[in-house]
C-alpha cells in the first residue's frame, strides 16, 4: 500500500475571478490564530455560533487582487478527534463544506505539539498550507526554526510569520495568489500507521468498504475507528449490517491500545520532519517563561502575585473608569436632558417626562457604565493574551477543588466581575459537563461591575467614612457565599464528582494591540446593543408604571406592585420603593439605582444620595446591598444561562437558588444589623 500519496498539482482555472475562494483557518489554541484572522479580515467579520452549538463561529471576507476570499475561523482544537464539540465542528466543516484551502497555524515555539493537528489535517483531501507563527517567541525561548527545511520535509508550503507584528502577511497573501493561479504544488508526505496495526487497519478498510458516508474518506474513517472515535463509531454502527459491525467491534476490542499507537505514530512523523529544521544553539538555557513561572506558579508567591494582579485590575478599572463615568453623567447626560426639555418645549408634559426621566435617565445611566466595563475587559483580555490567565487558573486549582471544580473554572468566574453574561459563555473552556453546569450556576454569585457600582454608590450614603471597608466586606462575603454554595451544590447535584485537570500553560508573549482592540470593540458593541434594546424597553416600562394610571407616584402601578411584595420586603426592612428597585434590577442590575432615581428624583432639594440616606436606616441599606449582590441574575444572564445549558430546569434551579439565598441572607443581615442598633 502506498502511504506516500502524492497530490496532483491543484490547478484552478481563471474562472475563480468570479468566484469566492473559501479558506478555513485551523490551529490549536494559543497559536495566534485569531490575530491572523483579524489581520486578514479587519472589521469585516461576522461573529455568531455554529448551527445548533454553543461554539463561537467567526467568518469574514476580504478582497485581494480582485479575488474575494471568504475566511472561516475554525474553533481552536488540539486534534481532530471527537473529544469535544469544537473538534467535531472543525473536522466536519473541512470534510463536508470542502473549503478550497486549509491554512493551519502552528507556533514555532511549540512546534512538535502544534504540528499534531497538521498531522491530522494533512491526510484529508483539502490542500493545506502551514503558517509558522511566533518565530519571535521561539527565539525568546532559545531556539529557531527554518521554514524552508520544514516545507521540504512536509511537502506543503510553510510561511513564517510574526502575526503580532503583522510580519509575513504579504508573503501569505502572495501564496494565496499562487494558489489561485494554480502555481502551488502540494506533495505532502503522510504519517504512517505503525506496522503492527497496518494489517488491522486494512481488515477494517475491507469491512467498511461501500458503507462509509461519501464525505468521509475511507482511509480516514478506518483510522478514526481504530483511534476509538465516538462519533465515527456511532455513525458506522448505524449504517453497517449487524454481522459486519460485530466483526469490527471484536477487532476494536482486541486493539484498544491502537489509539495510543496512532498518536505515537503521528508524533514520530513530526519528529522526523522537524529534526533538520529546528536549531537549539543554547541547550539547557532557561527561557523567559520558566523564569517568570518560578513565581507565577509558586503555591505561595503565585497566590500573592494573583492577589496583586487582581487588585491592580480593580484599581485600574475604578480609578480610570469611575471619573469617566461621572464625567459622562454630569457633562453629557444632564446637559442632554436640559437640551431635550428645550427642544420639546411644545410637547405634552408626559412626552417630556418619558424622554428625560425614562429614556435619557434610564439608558443613559447604563451607558455610562461602558467605560468601567471596557477597562475591565481590556485588563482581562491583556492578562489572557500575555498568557498569565492560565497561571491564575493553575494556582486557584486547589481552591476550586473544594467545590469539585478545577482551575479552569476560575477564569469565567473572574470574568464575571466585569459582566456575568460573558462569564457564563466563558464556561465553554470547561470540558466536563457537570463541572460546566456547576460553574454556570455559581457565575451569577460573582458581583458584576454593575452590582459593584451599586455598592460603590450606596455604601457612602449609609456608612460615610467606613464605606470602603463595608464595600470590601460585602464583596468578600459574596465570594465566601459562592464557595459555600459551590460545596453544597456539588454534594447535592454532582455527588462530589471530580474532573480531570489538563491545561496548557502557554508561553508568555506580547499580544497584538490590534486584536486586543478589536476584541474590546466587539464586546463594547454587544454591551451597547444590549443596553439599547432590553434596557431601553425596561426604562420605558418602569417610567410608564410609575406615571400611570394617575400621574401620582404613590398610587401608581409601580407602587401597587411594590405593595404586593411588601410582606417579603418587610423581612428585610424594605418599603415598596426598595422592593420595586430590587424587582427592576432583574432587568439589569444598574436599574436598581435608575429606579431609585426615578422614584426619588422628583424632590429637588437634596441629591439622590442624601435623600436615600435620610429615608432609610443603615440596617436597611446594608440589607438592600446584600440582597442586590445576591439577587436573581439579570434577564440577559438568565437568557444566556438558558442558551448555554440548553435546559429550563437548570435555569430555574439557578433563579430559585439565588432567590432563596438572597432573601435569606438579606433578612438575616437586617435582623442582626437592626438588633445592633444600625
Amino acid at each position: 500500500m502506498n502511504l506516500y500519496r502524492t497530490y496532483n498539482q491543484r490547478t484552478i482555472s481563471s474562472g475563480i475571478k468570479d468566484n469566492t475562494l473559501m479558506i478555513a483557518l485551523a490551529g490549536q489554541p494559543n497559536m495566534g490564530k485569531s490575530t491572523i484572522f483579524n489581520l486578514l479580515t479587519g472589521l469585516n467579520q461576522h461573529v455568531g455560533n455554529w448551527p445548533g452549538k454553543t461554539v463561537e463561529k467567526k467568518e469574514g471576507e476580504f478582497h485581494h487582487n480582485e479575488h474575494a476570499i471568504h475566511l472561516i475561523d475554525l474553533p481552536g482544537t488540539y486534534s481532530l478527534s471527537a473529544n469535544s464539540p469544537e473538534e467535531i465542528i472543525a473536522r466536519n466543516f473541512i470534510l463536508q463544506e470542502k473549503p478550497d484551502l486549509v491554512v493551519a497555524v502552528v507556533s514555532a515555539a511549540n512546534l512538535e505539539r502544534s504540528l499534531y493537528l497538521v498531522s491530522e489535517l494533512i491526510v484529508l483531501e483539502t490542500p493545506l498550507m502551514i503558517v509558522l507563527n511566533m518565530i519571535d517567541v521561539a527565539e525568546q525561548e532559545g531556539f529557531s526554526v527554518d521554514a524552508k527545511i520544514l516545507q521540504a520535509a512536509i511537502g506543503v508550503p510553510v510561511i513564517p510569520m510574526i502575526a503580532s507584528r503583522a510580519s509575513g502577511l504579504r508573503t501569505l497573501l502572495d501564496y494565496f495568489d499562487d494558489f489561485i493561479d494554480g502555481k502551488l504544488e502540494f506533495y505532502p508526505r503522510l504519517p504512517q500507521i505503525s506496522a503492527d496495526h497496518q494489517h488491522v487497519k486494512e481488515l477494517i478498510d475491507e469491512l467498511i468498504e461501500g458503507f462509509v458516508p461519501e464525505y468521509y474518506p475511507k482511509n480516514w474513517t478506518s483510522m478514526k475507528l481504530l483511534e476509538g472515535d465516538i462519533e465515527i463509531f456511532d455513525i458506522l454502527k448505524s449504517v453497517l449490517p449487524p454481522e459486519r459491525w460485530e466483526t469490527i467491534e471484536d477487532i476494536l476490542k482486541q486493539h484498544e491500545d491502537a489509539g495510543l499507537a496512532i498518536a505515537s505514530g503521528r508524533y514520530e512523523w513530526i519528529e522526523r520532519n522537524i529534526r533538520a529544521a529546528v536549531h537549539r544553539p543554547k541547550l539547557g538555557q532557561v527561557g523567559l517563561t520558566d523564569r517568570l513561572d518560578k513565581f507565577a506558579t509558586h503555591p505561595i508567591w503565585g497566590l500573592l502575585f494573583l492577589a496583586v494582579v487582581l487588585g491592580l485590575t480593580f484599581w485600574l478599572t475604578f480609578t480610570i473608569g469611575t471619573p469617566i463615568q461621572e464625567w459622562m453623567d454630569s457633562k453629557i447626560l444632564v446637559p442632554l436632558g436640559s437640551l431635550a426639555q428645550i427642544w420639546m418645549i411644545d410637547a405634552p408634559a408626559w412626552v417630556v417626562s418619558l424622554v428625560v426621566d425614562g429614556i435619557i435617565g434610564g439608558v443613559g445611566a447604563v451607558v455610562t457604565f461602558l467605560p468601567i466595563i471596557i477597562i475591565f475587559f481590556a485588563a482581562f483580555g491583556f492578562l489572557e493574551d500575555v498568557g498569565y490567565m492560565a497561571r491564575a487558573a493553575y494556582v486557584m486549582d486547589n481552591f476550586m477543588h473544594w467545590m469539585g471544580l478545577h482551575g479552569k473554572s476560575f477564569l469565567p468566574l473572574f470574568l464575571g466581575f466585569g459582566c456575568n453574561v460573558p462569564a457564563v459563555m466563558g464556561t465553554r473552556v470547561i470540558e466536563s459537563w457537570p463541572a460546566r453546569i456547576l460553574t454556570i450556576l455559581l457565575a451569577p454569585f460573582v458581583p458584576c461591575s454593575a452590582r459593584l457600582a451599586i455598592i460603590a454608590f450606596l455604601a457612602p450614603a449609609f456608612f460615610g467614612k467606613n464605606a470602603f471597608i463595608i464595600s470590601w466586606g460585602l464583596i468578600l462575603s459574596s465570594i465566601v457565599i459562592l464557595m459555600i454554595v459551590g460545596v453544597i451544590m456539588n454534594k447535592i447535584f454532582f455527588k462530589g464528582e471530580r474532573t480531570a485537570f489538563i491545561m496548557e500553560l502557554p508561553l508568555y508573549h506580547i499580544p497584538n494591540w490590534r486584536t486586543a482592540l478589536l476584541l474590546i470593540w466587539q464586546r463594547s458593541l454587544s454591551f451597547l446593543k444590549h443596553a439599547g434594546s432590553i434596557i431601553l424597553m425596561m426604562s420605558v416600562v418602569v417610567w410608564a408604571l410609575s406615571e400611570f394610571p394617575s400621574g401620582d407616584l404613590e398610587t401608581s402601578f409601580l407602587a401597587q406592585i411594590g405593595n404586593f411584595f411588601a410582606p417579603v420586603g418587610n423581612w428585610m426592612g424594605f418599603d415598596w420603593k426598595l422592593t420595586v428597585a430590587l424587582i427592576t434590577s432583574f432587568m439589569a442590575k444598574e436599574n436598581a439605582i435608575a429606579t431609585l432615581g426615578v422614584l426619588f428624583g422628583r424632590t429637588e432639594e437634596f441629591s439622590l444620595l442624601q435623600t436615600i440616606a435620610n429615608t432609610y436606616t443603615p440596617a436597611v441599606g446594608l440589607a438592600f446591598m446584600v440582597v442586590t449582590l445576591l439577587f436573581i441574575p439579570c434577564v440577559a444572564t438568565v437568557a444566556v444561562i438558558k442558551k448555554e445549558t440548553g435546559s429550563w430546569k437548570w435555569t430555574m434551579v439557578n433563579i430559585v437558588l439565588m432567590l432563596v439565598v438572597s432573601i435569606g441572607m438579606g433578612s438575616a443581615v437586617y435582623a442582626i444589623a437592626s438588633r445592633l442598633g444600625l
Binding site: 488540539y78 511549540n110 493553575y394 480531570a500 489538563i502 496548557e504
Partner: protein, 81 residues
C-alpha cells in the same frame, strides 16, 4: 544492570526528568494526553511539584498543568543522572 522501576509521574520531584512508559487513565483522558504529546518513549521534565495540588510538566516544549490524580495515572521511568 538493574532495570529502572516504573513510578507514577506524580512522584517525580521538581527538576527531574523521566521517560513515559504507559498511560493508565481511561480511554478518554489517554486520548487527550497523547494528543498533547504524552506518548510512550517521550522525555518529560517535572517543572513544578510541591507535593500537593496540581503539577506542571514540560513535554515536547509545552508546559502542561496536570491534576495530581491525572499525574498518578502516567507511569514513567526516572532518567539516570
Amino acid at each position: 544492570m538493574q532495570s529502572t522501576p516504573l513510578i507514577p509521574l506524580a512522584d517525580l520531584k521538581s527538576g527531574e526528568s523521566a521517560t513515559i512508559s504507559a498511560l493508565k487513565a481511561g480511554r478518554n483522558i489517554n486520548a487527550r494526553l497523547s494528543t498533547l504529546g504524552f506518548t510512550p518513549g517521550v522525555i518529560i521534565r517535572m517543572t513544578h511539584n510541591y507535593g500537593h495540588g496540581p503539577i506542571v510538566v514540560n513535554v515536547r516544549d509545552t508546559r502542561i498543568a496536570l491534576g495530581r490524580g491525572e499525574a498518578r495515572t502516567i507511569l514513567v521511568t526516572r532518567a539516570k543522572e
